[in-house]
């Protein structure tokens, strides 16, 4: 009868056959002298460690992800164009971040701004605000704004943002016109900058009429307070002798430095904003009631102006004009007493002075570190 073998039985037969065949060579192989092998040869294999693939795979995936994310971040998804030429082009990625801003407009518009990396909404606000203050939104709400390059939906979204920011900037600053040239001259005849003189270190306030110490410009391209004052006065057609300066303050807004000045003539009160380039970007005026009321006609022998009040405060603090930043001098009235509130900062110390508007005396002061 034929025998049917299964796999297990065949395996078993093989093992038995080998058992019967295997020689015993232990004595030969154990007794022979064998020197230790110094280096692996072509017989002895080098064990290859199985590389763990998953860390390599995970690292590769992470690299791919980072590369993809970087590509997406740096890729221009759309370009916002502002103006006819256009004057300003803003490249934006798909995450509404600004990649690059190019402008053929005056450097005063873009020069001091760092818009790369900013959210597009903030960047548009800064740009339109700067354009409006400089009187460069000549087209008003019709200023050409377009968006190209992205999907229809994204372009539409950016366009809506841009137009919203344009409208806001126009509503706030839209009435500002660029300063008109005076007389036959094309450029306003601004007085030369006043020489910088050290403020006397004595505690006594300087008397009216002493040399003015100009607050230094924050950079070589920005005007001084004195120049800003002169520009504002020229804008309204008055001279310094015709007005009483009530407030002169340097401030910053959206990265732009500007001067805020308040002064009055015999019958009109003025509030002007002058940008860092010396251009009057805003100027409001209103008639004084009752021929001046509590406001005195300017007579420098009877009262001091805001600048002189600031000088008195600096002198009292023993600080020079070159050392201070962000100073302001504003006329105030309290219980019939007219005084100037002067504030400035020198290093880490903040100063606040009340200077009598009549005598220039220090009424009170405080400092805080």
């Amino acid at each position: 009868m034929r025998r049917e073998w299964n796999d297990r039985e065949v395996e078993q037969l093989l093992r038995r056959a080998v058992d019967r065949s295997v020689p015993d060579v232990f004595e030969q192989v154990s007794s022979e002298e064998v020197p230790p092998l110094l280096n692996e040869d072509h017989i002895v294999p080098s064990p290859v460690r199985r590389r763990r693939r998953w860390p390599i795979f995970a690292a590769a995936c992470l690299l791919l992800f980072l590369a993809g994310a970087f590509y997406l971040w740096m890729s221009t998804a759309a370009i916002i164009s502002i103006g006819e030429e256009p004057e300003i082009e803003m490249a934006v990625n798909r995450f509404q971040r600004v990649l690059r801003v190019d402008g053929i407009a005056d450097d005063a518009v873009l020069g001091q701004m760092t818009l790369e990396g900013a959210e597009v909404e903030d960047a548009l606000e800064s740009v339109f605000t700067a354009l409006a203050r400089q009187g460069l939104l000549t087209g008003g709400l019709e200023t050409p704004v377009s968006v190209d390059g992205g999907s229809w939906r994204y372009n539409r979204e950016l366009l809506d943002l841009a137009q919203e920011e344009l409208q806001e900037a126009w509503e706030e600053y839209g009435g500002i016109q660029p300063p008109a040239p005076s007389g036959d001259d094309m450029e306003p005849d601004l007085p030369s900058p006043e020489p910088t003189q050290p403020v006397p270190s004595a505690a006594q306030p300087s008397s009216p009429g002493t040399a003015v110490t100009a607050v230094p410009s924050t950079s070589p391209t920005t005007v001084t307070m004195a120049q800003a004052r002169a520009a504002a006065l020229a804008y309204v057609g008055l001279s310094e002798a015709d007005v009483v300066i009530e407030k002169e303050q340097q401030d910053w807004d959206d990265g732009q430095m500007y001067y805020e000045l308040e002064f009055h003539s015999a019958d009109t009160a003025y509030e002007c904003v002058v940008n860092a380039a010396g251009q009057v970007v805003q100027c409001e005026q209103e008639p004084l009631h009752g021929g001046g009321g509590a406001m005195e006609r300017n007579g420098q022998s009877a009262s001091i102006n805001a600048r002189q009040a600031a000088e008195a405060a600096l002198a009292h603090a023993g600080v020079s004009a070159a050392q201070v930043e962000d100073w302001s001098s504003e006329r105030e009235e309290d219980n019939g007493v007219v005084y100037y509130e002067v504030e400035f900062q020198c290093g880490a110390v903040e100063y606040k002075y009340h200077i009598d508007a009549q005598s220039g005396a220090v009424l009170s002061y405080e400092q805080e570190s």
Partner: protein, 191 residues
């Protein structure tokens, strides 16, 4: 006798699964007792593999001796964490290749000419028949796979890694080889 043989095979399987690396480390330090223990547990496996490659008892014996001498001299080079028996079998295979190169039979690598086995031709027992048929009817790779698994105790996955073949290939060739052996046994019975 059969129980004794089965016990020896099982003992080999147990060694391969446990402290083979520890024995190699001790052999590398010159421990003679460890070498004897290693020898007794692996002689059948190494002989069977050498036989599958050489198809010849005397050549297999020579290879077996050279392999043990190489293990003694190179055990200190073995890096733990791998598969110790695969390391040993690779030594065996490289020795066979080296031998064929020396004797000018390199072009035949993959299938050596059939030679004499330890069991005489006159022996008509089932185990003698199956071993003889394994040398005759199976291809070189089928012999390797069958004897590595059935006698040397390697798992199919380990054989696949050692031969650098897909597991499915090893499995299919193994079962095909056993089928050939079954068929060959049937033919022998009818003769």
């Amino acid at each position: 006798m059969f129980l004794m043989m089965e016990g020896a095979w099982e003992a080999g399987r147990r060694l391969a699964a446990t402290d083979c690396e520890a024995l190699l480390r001790r052999i590398g330090q010159g421990d003679a007792e460890a070498f004897e223990h290693f020898y007794r547990a692996t002689d059948r496996a190494i002989y069977a593999y050498a036989l599958s490659l050489t198809r010849n008892h005397h050549d297999a014996q020579d290879i077996m001796m050279e392999a043990y001498l190489k293990v003694r001299s190179a055990a200190h080079l073995y890096r733990p964490g791998g598969k110790p028996m695969a390391w040993v079998f690779t030594i065996v295979k490289n020795l066979v290749r080296d031998q064929q190169r020396r004797t000018g039979r390199e072009e035949l690598m993959g299938d050596c000419p059939e030679g004499e086995l330890a069991i005489p031709e006159s022996d008509r027992s089932d185990e003698a028949m199956v071993l003889r048929q394994a040398m005759r009817v199976l291809s070189a790779e089928e012999r390797e796979i069958v004897l590595l698994h059935a006698v040397s105790g390697l798992k199919h996955r380990e054989i696949a890694g050692m031969l650098e073949r897909p597991l499915s290939t090893v499995l299919s060739r193994y079962h095909r080889a056993l089928g050939k052996l079954r068929a060959a046994l049937l033919e022998c019975e009818e003769v």
